[in-house]
């Protein structure tokens, strides 16, 4: 499918934004300004952008512990994102969630998740509700190769197929689950093979090729909107950073990482494509990078200037209906 140049540059900008956001997060974490744990998706931007750029604002997405890219690609406000990572009152979750539980329901992000595969059952519900409400929304769930070994994945895929729910299952097979290589814990190397066991289409995609991901996503989303049911997309990609920031990474060699970084960086690949096909040129791409830097700079400034929540705010937001006899009539 031929994309117009403006759209292509938008996609490029989105990938760059994710990369710069996470590079910033990496530095702030190292500097001790981000508490807890963060998991970066550097090197996997094409998967986030390729899929989410095909979605409407009213479509749903469930993400994972590695979810910054999905949030940004779906259109999340950088200010509130940085603020949440820093635990500030102005963050998406008022500092209650952090990176692992970041969410923006206003754009259909039903939450990152600290539980591996925790998003899949939630997606089943989103898809089911779409069907009940008879809208043409769709629901996407991102999950990892490691997550694919968990039981809920099976239950949700079977259910989605039986009821033809408008769900797109996107496994980001970055070939590692924390310290374990996918091949050591998964009985099949191409997880998309399993789609056949659920009577749904399975698509194996080069997850670092933005346009390939986009094509697969568009087709799947189209099927889902038409009520033809779920699709299982496998984006083969690679995790460049450690599992979490600070991961000693004894389980793999620098060479392995380097190979992917040099030969297979999704942003490099796409910028080469843009230039080669005269969709843009180096200076315009550099300009985009600069603009993103500026925007991110503002977001960081906003977050740093924001106050922390008052300790006692910890007691707020538990229940929607007043704890005592909370039953609206």
């Amino acid at each position: 499918m031929a994309e117009d140049a403006r759209k292509l540059l938008e996609l490029f900008q989105c990938m760059v934004t994710i990369r710069q956001f996470e590079t910033m997060a990496q530095e702030y974490f190292a500097a001790g300004e981000i508490p807890g744990f963060i998991h970066l998706s550097i090197g996997q931007e094409a998967s986030s952008v390729g899929v989410c750029s095909c979605l409407r604002p009213d479509d749903y997405v469930t993400t994972t512990h590695r979810g910054h890219g999905h949030m940004i690609a779906k259109g999340a406000d950088l200010k509130k994102m940085v603020a949440e990572l820093l635990g500030k009152k102005t963050g998406f979750c008022k500092g209650k969630g952090g990176s692992m539980h970041i969410a923006d329901f206003s754009i259909g992000i039903l939450g990152a998740n600290g539980v591996v595969a925790g998003g899949l059952p939630i997606t089943a519900g989103a898809g089911f509700s779409i069907k009940m409400r008879k809208t043409d929304q769709v629901a996407v769930c991102f999950f990892g190769d490691g997550a694919s070994n968990r039981g809920p994945v099976h239950e949700v895929m079977n259910m989605a197929s039986v009821w033809k729910l408008p769900i797109i299952f996107v496994v980001e097979n970055n070939q590692w689950a924390s310290t374990t290589p996918q091949t050591s814990t998964g009985s099949v190397q191409d997880l998309s093979i399993r789609a056949a066991g659920y009577n749904m289409p399975g698509v194996l995609v080069d997850g670092n090729d933005l346009l390939a991901v986009r094509n697969a996503a568009m087709e799947a989303i189209d099927r889902a909107r038409k009520g033809e049911g779920p699709t299982f997309i496998e984006n083969k990609t690679y995790r460049i950073r450690g599992h979490f920031e600070g991961d000693p990474q004894k389980y793999r060699t620098k060479a392995e990482v380097g190979k992917w970084q040099k030969k297979n960086d999704p942003i490099d690949l796409f910028s080469k494509y843009l230039i080669k096909n005269k969709k843009s040129d180096k200076s315009s791409l550099d300009k985009i990078r600069k603009d993103v830097e500026a925007e991110l700079g503002d977001a960081v400034a906003f977050a740093k200037d924001s106050p922390f929540p008052e300790p006692k705010e910890a007691l707020e937001d538990l229940f929607a209906n007043s704890y005592k006899g909370g039953s609206p009539s």
Binding site: Y60, G91, F92, C93, K94, G95, K96, G97, H101, A103, D104, F105, S106, L110, G111, N113, G114, V115, G118, L120, P121, I122, T123, A124, G125, A126, G127, F128, S129, I130, M132, R133, A139, G151, P152, E155, V156, N158, M159, V162, E316, D317, L318, F319, A320, N321, Y323, K324, G325, G326, S327, P328, S329
Partner: protein, 326 residues
């Protein structure tokens, strides 16, 4: 209260009819609901009156609970039927890590209007994996409300409030009570969550109960009358939020407390209740708080064994005599 007498199942079905007619976003999902209209007849008439809104799912508890959360987050009011409360163990992550926490973790961005409906309790000779009373686990899970009604009229008023509540509610009903009958007003009404009911007045001892244990206390109270002991029965109905005012009021009058539940003793809700009471009402207590509950073993199959493990009227009577020194 009108004097129409109907079963607990009928009371539940009537309430659900009212709520599903009133609000299109209410639906019921679970296993094997349609053909039996609920294995206890509790959904009688719903499949025909609301086709497509009571759904038979695959045996996939995680996905079923997920349908609850995900649809509650996106505009629906799901009622998730757990089939047997024992099977909450097959979706504890979805219930306790996701449903209970998602509103809080997101800083209050969303509501989770969802009912997890759990038939529980023993006595059917269904053995260890089909007889548990697990409400205490959920009382210890911030973000969940826990309702355990006893009489048909409570079931009707409480399920309607639970369905309308914007937070996740664990709703436990004892399997043995579905056939029990009682007066239920024909007109719609709500019983707010967090409101206990004083179901018998008395000055000598306060009996705290919920669900099936209410009936044990009711019978025990009759027996106790012959011993010149007048018991006050407080049916908690909702465990979280707990109506401590009503509980305290009664205890300030009687100075004596017996807590009764069917869940096994150790770690059961009675412990929490006893701890709050002795803390807040220490100077009012003239005797230790006694707990009557099931034995600390899984529920065995053979009738004689099962009966031995479950709390009995005579246990309640004995506990009351102990705290009243009679």
């Amino acid at each position: 209260m009108s004097e129409r007498i109907i079963s607990t199942s009928a009371a539940l079905a009537e309430a659900l009819h009212e709520e599903m007619a009133r609000d299109e976003s209410v639906f019921i999902i679970g296993e094997d609901l349609v053909s039996h209209e609920g294995i206890f007849g509790q959904f009688k008439g719903l499949p025909t009156e609301f086709p497509g809104r009571i759904i038979d799912a695959p045996i996939s508890e995680s996905a079923i609970a997920g349908v609850g959360i995900g649809s509650a987050l996106t505009g629906m009011r799901p009622i998730v039927d757990m089939h047997f409360s024992d099977f909450v163990t097959c979706c504890m992550d979805e219930i306790c890590n996701q449903t209970a926490k998602i509103r809080y973790m997101s800083g209050g961005q969303v509501k989770v209007p969802m009912v997890l409906w759990c038939p529980d309790g023993a006595g059917l000779r269904a053995a260890a994996q089909h007889s548990q009373s697990l409400e205490a686990w959920f009382v210890h899970t911030p973000g969940l409300k826990v309702v355990v009604p006893s009489e048909p009229a409570d079931v009707k008023g409480l399920i309607k409030s639970a369905v309308r509540d914007d937070d996740p509610v664990m709703f436990f009903q004892h399997k043995q009570l579905f056939a029990r009958q009682g007066p239920v007003p024909e007109e719609p009404y709500l019983i707010p969550l967090g409101q206990a009911a004083v179901k018998r007045e008395g000055n000598d001892v306060t009996l705290l109960c919920y669900g099936s244990s209410y009936y044990l206390c009711k019978e025990a109270a009759q027996v106790l009358v012959d011993l010149n002991i007048e018991s006050e029965i407080v049916d908690l109905r909702t465990l979280s939020p707990l109506d401590m005012e009503t509980v305290a009021q009664s205890i300030r009058k009687t100075h004596r407390v017996v807590i009764v539940h069917e869940a096994c003793l150790t770690g059961g809700y009675g412990g929490e209740l006893s701890a709050i009471i002795q803390d807040e009402l220490f100077d009012y207590l003239d005797a230790p708080i006694k707990r009557v509950a099931a034995r600390d073993v899984p529920i065995p199959f053979s009738p004689g064994l099962e009966d031995y493990c479950l709390p009995k009227v005579s246990d309640v009577v004995a506990a009351v005599r102990a705290v009243t020194y009679k």
